[in-house]
C-alpha cells in the first residue's frame, strides 16, 4: 500500500542548548550539559538544576496580548525560525488547509502563578492575566492566530507524550485530506507548579539527571519548544511510524514490566513497516527516575536486543514534559539532517558512567560516536507520560523502503 508521505519539512526549536540548529546540534553531539542552570527560585529551600532557556524570547505581538505568557513566547521563538516556510505554505495551500496541532503539559501556568501571587497581595488577579494563557487550548489558539492558519487548531495534552502525539495527529490530518500542512510540535515552560509537583513526588534529582546510572535519583526539569512544518511532500526527513499505548496501571508510575513502552515501540515499527534491525538509533525517554529506566531498558532490550545505540538527552536540556516528545523528535531530525554519506553522528548518552547492573544491558551511545546507517537511516524516539500514555515515533529520510 502506498501511503501519503509525511515530511517534517521545516523545524524551529529552542531549548537550554540554544535556539539555532547549528548551536543546538553542536552542543547536542558534544553532550554539553552546561545549558543547565542552578535555580533556587522554583522550589522553596532547594537549589536545583533546570534546563531553562536563557536566550531572550520574542515578545507576543500587541494584537495577541491575551496570549502573552512564557509558554507562548517559547513557541513563538520556534515559530519565527520557520516563519518564511509557514508563510509560503499558507500561500501555497490557502489558510483553511493549514492546521495547528501542538502539545503542552503546562501551557501558561507559570503566568497564572504570578497572577495568583498578585491576587494574594491585592485581592485581584494581575490585570494582564487572561485565561487564554492558562487553558491548554491557548497554545494552539495562539499559534493559529499568530500564523493566520484556519485549519483545525487544537492542543493535545497527554503529559510527557503530548509533543510526540501531536506529530502523529498532524500526519493523520494530512492523510485524511483535512489539511495539506500542519504546524505541529510542542511547548512547555518551567514553573513552580511542575517543579514543586515533581518535588512532592520525590522525583527531582538533587544533582543532575543520571539516566541508567546506579546512582540515578530522579529527573531534571527543562523547557522549550520545537515546531515542525508537516506536509505531505516526499523527501527530506519523514515521519515514518507512530506507535501508541495506554497502560491501565497507575496515574504517576509506569508499568514496571515496560509492557506499555514495548507496545508503543512495536506499534511504531509495524506502522513504519520496519524490522527492529532497520533502526539505527533510539532516543530514550530516559528520565533518570528509579521507575522509568528499568522498565524502558527492559522493553528496549526485548524489542531491539542490546546492540542498538541508545541515548537519553535529558541531561542536556532537562525533561521538558509535554514538549519532550517534540524536542527529542527535533534531536532525531538533527541526527538525520546532519548525516554525512552513510554515517550518522549520534547524541551521546550523558551520565556518570556507572551503569546500573540491574538494568537490561542496552548499548548506550559513547562520546563522539557515529554509526554506519546506510543511505536511508531510520531512528526512533520514545515518550512515556503520566497516566500511562505512551507514544513512539520513527523518523527517517525516505517515505518508502
Amino acid at each position: 500500500m502506498t501511503r501519503t508521505p509525511c515530511s517534517l519539512a521545516a523545524l524551529g526549536q529552542v531549548n537550554a542548548l540554544g535556539k539555532t540548529h547549528a548551536e543546538i546540534a553542536k552542543r547536542l553531539f558534544a553532550g554539553d550539559t552546561s545549558g543547565l542552570t542552578l535555580r533556587d527560585d522554583l522550589v522553596p529551600e532547594r537549589s536545583l538544576l533546570f534546563g531553562a532557556v536563557r536566550d531572550p524570547l520574542p515578545e507576543i505581538p500587541a494584537r495577541l496580548a491575551r496570549f502573552a505568557c512564557r509558554n507562548n513566547r517559547l513557541a513563538l521563538a520556534a515559530l519565527e525560525q520557520i516563519g518564511a516556510e509557514v508563510e509560503a505554505t499558507l500561500s501555497r495551500f490557502g489558510r483553511a488547509r493549514v492546521g495547528v496541532v501542538v502539545g503542552t503539559s503546562t501551557s501558561g501556568v507559570g503566568d497564572a502563578e504570578e497572577a495568583i501571587a498578585v491576587r494574594e497581595r491585592t485581592g485581584r488577579l494581575a490585570r494582564e492575566f487572561d485565561y487564554a494563557q492558562l487553558e491548554f487550548g491557548g497554545l494552539s489558539g495562539f499559534l493559529a492566530e499568530a500564523t493566520g492558519a484556519r485549519g483545525p487548531a487544537y492542543t493535545l495534552s497527554t503529559a510527557c507524550s503530548s509533543g510526540a502525539r501531536a506529530l502523529a495527529t498532524a500526519r493523520s490530518l494530512i492523510r485524511l485530506g483535512i489539511c495539506d500542512a500542519v504546524i505541529s510540535g510542542a511547548a512547555d515552560s518551567l514553573c513552580g507548579l511542575t517543579a514543586n509537583g515533581f518535588a512532592s513526588l520525590g522525583a527531582l534529582s538533587a544533582r543532575i539527571t543520571n539516566p541508567c546510572s546506579r546512582n540515578r535519583d530522579g529527573l531534571t526539569l527543562g523547557e522549550g519548544s520545537a515546531l515542525f512544518l508537516v506536509t505531505g511532500d516526499a523527501g527530506g526527513v519523514q515521519l515514518l511510524g507512530v506507535g501508541e499505548s495506554s497502560e491501565a496501571h497507575h496515574i504517576s508510575a509506569p508499568d514496571p514490566e515496560g509492557n506499555g513502552a514495548e507496545a508503543a515501540m512495536r506499534g511504531a515499527l509495524a506502522d513504519a513497516g520496519l524490522a527492529p534491525s532497520e533502526i539505527a538509533y533510539l532516543n530514550l525517554h530516559g528520565t533518570g527516575t528509579p521507575q522509568n529506566d528499568p522498565m524502558e531498558c527492559a522493553a528496549v532490550a526485548r524489542v531491539f536486543g542490546t546492540e542498538l545505540p541508545c541515548s537519553s538527552t535529558k541531561a542536556l536540556i532537562g525533561h521538558a514534559l509535554g514538549a519532550a516528545g517534540a524536542l527529542e523528535a527535533a534531536f532525531c531530525w538533527l541526527v538525520l539532517a546532519n548525516r554525512s554519506n552513510d554515517s550518522l553522528t549520534l547524541p551521546p548518552h550523558v551520565f556518570d558512567g556507572e551503569r546500573d547492573p540491574a538494568l537490561a544491558p542496552i548499548r548506550l551511545v559513547a562520546a563522539s560516536e557515529s554509526v554506519k546507517a546506510g543511505a536511508h537511516p531510520r531512528v526512533l524516539t520514545n515518550s512515556f507520560g503520566f497516566g500511562g500514555s505512551n507514544c513512539s515515533l520513527v523518523l527517517g529520510t525516505d517515505a518508502d523502503a
Binding site: 487550548g137 487544537y154 495534552s157 515533581f198 512532592s200 495506554s246
Partner: protein, 242 residues
C-alpha cells in the same frame, strides 16, 4: 469522511437517561449549574480518587459502551478546562511556598480522566486528550477521525466534558458554565446513521447556544435538521447527516 455514530450517552444534573435527553432535545432549556454523578459503577477505591469532572466523564463513557468494548476501544478525551479547578489549590500552595500534595498534583494532568478510564476499564488501547478553547467538541471529532485514519477497523470512543470553573477564573471566561459530559462511539463504517464534518474558512461569527456545543450537537442529532454549524475562530465546522 463519513462516520457512523452508533451509541451515545450524556450526563447533566437531572438529565441522566436517553429518554430524559430526548425530552430535553425537544424543548431545550439552560442546564443546572451544579451536580455530579455518584460514580457507583467505579470501584470504591478508584471513585474516591475521582474529581467531579472525572466521575462525570466516566459516567458518560460507561453509559456509552458495553462491557466488551470498554476495555478494548481507543479513546479521545476532550475537555476545555480539564483539571484546572484542582490546579488552583496547587497554585495557591506554590505562591504561599507550601508543600504540594503529590496525589493532587498527579491528578491535574490533562489526561487524568483518560488515565483513570484506562485504569478503571483495564483499557490499554491508544488514547488522546485535547483542549481547543471554544472549539473543543469539533476538534474532538477530528481527533477521532485521526484515530480512524490510523486504524479504520475498530471504532473509537469519544468522551467530552467540563465542570464550571472555580471562582478564581470563572469571571474571565464567557461560556455556559454547567457540569456535563457526552460520550459517543464513532466508527468509520457500520450500520449506524452517518455524519460528515466539513471545514471551511469563515469570518462570520456563529451564534453560540446557551448550553455547551456538544449538547447542541446532541440536540441537533436528535432532531431532523440536516446540518449543524459550529465554530468560534475563523474555522466553521459543519456537521451533516448522510
Amino acid at each position: 469522511m463519513k462516520l457512523s455514530l452508533t451509541n451515545w450517552s450524556a450526563w447533566a444534573p437531572g438529565i441522566e437517561t436517553p429518554d430524559a435527553w430526548r425530552a430535553w432535545a425537544r424543548e431545550p432549556s439552560p442546564l443546572a449549574k451544579e451536580g455530579a454523578p455518584d460514580g457507583k459503577f467505579l470501584p470504591a477505591m478508584l471513585r474516591r480518587r475521582c474529581t467531579p469532572l472525572t466521575r462525570t466523564m466516566l459516567a458518560a463513557a460507561w453509559g456509552c459502551l458495553d462491557a466488551n468494548e470498554l476495555p478494548t476501544l481507543r479513546s479521545v478525551f476532550a475537555s476545555r478546562h480539564g483539571s484546572i479547578n484542582e490546579s488552583i489549590g496547587l497554585l495557591e500552595n506554590v505562591v504561599r511556598r507550601e508543600k504540594l500534595s503529590p496525589a493532587t498534583f498527579s491528578h491535574t494532568v490533562h489526561n487524568a480522566q483518560a488515565a483513570l478510564f484506562s485504569i478503571a476499564a483495564v483499557n490499554r488501547a491508544a488514547s488522546s486528550s485535547l483542549s481547543a478553547q471554544e472549539d473543543t467538541w469539533a476538534c474532538a471529532w477530528i481527533e477521532a477521525l485521526t484515530f480512524l485514519e490510523r486504524d479504520p477497523s475498530a471504532p473509537v470512543l469519544v468522551v467530552i466534558g467540563d465542570v464550571p470553573l472555580a471562582e478564581t477564573f470563572a469571571p474571565l471566561v464567557d461560556e455556559p458554565a454547567v457540569p456535563y459530559a457526552f460520550a459517543c462511539r464513532l466508527a468509520s463504517e457500520g450500520s449506524g446513521p452517518g455524519i460528515t464534518l466539513a471545514l471551511e474558512d469563515s469570518d462570520q461569527p456563529l451564534p453560540r447556544p446557551a448550553w455547551p456545543h456538544v449538547l447542541e450537537f446532541l440536540r441537533w442529532w436528535l432532531s431532523d435538521e440536516p446540518t449543524l454549524a459550529q465554530g468560534s475562530r475563523g474555522t466553521r465546522y459543519t456537521f451533516r447527516r448522510s
